[in-house]
Amino acid sequence: MSKYVIIGNSTAGIAAAEAIRKTDKKGSLTIISEEKGAAYGRPLISYYLQGVTTDETLPYRPADFYEKLNITLKDGVKAEKIDPSGKKVYLSDGESVSYDKLLVATGSVPFVPPANGLDEVREKFTFYTIEDARKLKAALKPDTRLLIIGAGLIGLKCMEGAYEITHDITVIDLADRVLSSVLDEDCAKIVSKKIDEKGVRLVLNDKVKEFHENYCVTDGGVKVEFDVLVTAVGVKPNVSLVADAGGKINRGIVTDLKQRTSLPDVYAAGDCTVSHDASSGADKIMAVLPNAYLQGETAGFNMSGDDREICNLVPLNSIGFFGVHVLSAGSTQGAMLEQKGEDFIKRFFVKDNRLTGFILIGNYDRAGILLSLIRERVPLDTVDFKAMTLLPELAFFPKTVRREKLDR
């Protein structure tokens, strides 16, 4: 009987457990989780802050999930060391767990850059776990002055969630625009405009020079008074377990297409890994939930003897701020095509007769049809791509292709 151990009780870990139980109903399956409690979708923490998600709707899977899949959940305990030769994981409670196949799905860790005077700030938070969201929610009052460092996905979602409690919010970012990792300048402007309209102050192209207990001063000379500070400048892959055990790291944990690390019988999946972007050909840290699931699932199948390879991963995000919804996928390589209207913008990137990426704001009905063009590397001269940039439809595929798609 095989012994499966999964470190990490989030998307990739759960996906692996679900895949393992499809192939092996008998082997023992243990999930080790530093966080306490059942799995939840990590992006939900901003919705929790906002009040959209509650304690009842937070869990990622039904209440009987662990029991039904016969999973032993060791939560509130940290995996501290992997011994790949002895095939053991050492835990913070002094115990150890031995494995036949191990998955490392340890996600990311929030990155808090050193800053002058940060120690003086008493009410400071990161925004990564549900516990962070709970603590922040408890600290926020309607008259709280909130300062968020970072105008990326995490910082802005935190802003949106917190806005339900206080409107006195300032966001500072080093980049010259919001969501700089996802959006180009023009698209970022649409989002910033909405943020401005809500009365949230954006301080861009600037960084904090010095923190004091209740205010900070930026390099640009802006003084911001605050009661609560959230640092959301970014996250980095949590690679230490595999790195310390001698596994190969390239910013993230390096895996092959079966999600195997360079250590024998040790797999890795999700935000802690570096993965191959099919749209650009580059290896990068993608750290998005849908990809974490696909990687975790692939790992789980391979761990339990069902041979699978991961393919067609591309960066993708669907995210809204104050009702402005931004969908992006792939990369921005190649020539740009644009469709624009009063309340929407669509940008498409085309190279070598293939769609490499898109950014859609305000008009994105049936966007998945466009994503399928990227993922399946569909030659654009076989479809009516021009028409698809206006409204994606299956009608713009050749009849035989469409039939095959729909006859499933």
Binding site: T53, P290, L316, L327, Y364, G368, S372, A395, R408
Partner: protein
């Protein structure tokens, strides 16, 4: 499993399937009441048309459903009977499923949970779009 299939050679593009779908999920008793609501109900089936053809598209209830795998909240799930359903209380409206569904079969409902074909399982029997297709272009069968 039995699914909603569309024969595009028979589809007239009348969009009755959209109306009946929206109505039968609206909770209203009379169709005019459903469409007189401040915000009309969203159909879960969509009729595509260009200058040559028309046909309706609804969820394929994929075996390997990418929407379920991509759902950030766990609101979308694959049931034991094969249907892919959305738990509206869990959906946060992030629209990741809209981004990943290769059929464009997940519909947005502003400010609310996404809507998708549930095969009219709650109302029982044959899906409403199938029942009311005047040209029998939409069928409910196993293929």
């Amino acid at each position: 499993m039995k699914k909603v299939h569309v024969n595009e050679d028979k589809c007239l593009g009348c969009r009755l399937c959209e109306y009946w779908c929206a109505f039968s999920h609206s909770g209203e008793k009379y169709m005019p009441d459903a469409f007189n609501l401040q915000k009309p109900p969203v159909p879960r089936i969509v009729v595509e048309e260009n200058d040559k053809i028309t046909f309706a598209v609804a969820c394929r209830h994929c075996d390997d459903a990418i929407c379920v795998k991509s759902c950030i909240s766990g609101a979308l799930s694959k049931q034991a009977d094969g249907t892919v359903l959305v738990d509206e209380s869990k959906c946060v409206g992030c629209h990741t499923c809209v981004l990943v569904c290769p059929f464009g079969a997940i519909r947005m409902d502003e400010g609310k949970a996404v809507k998708k074909c549930d095969l009219c399982l709650k109302t029982g029997g044959v899906p409403s779009c199938v029942q009311h297709c005047p040209n029998r272009a939409i069928v409910y069968e196993e293929r």
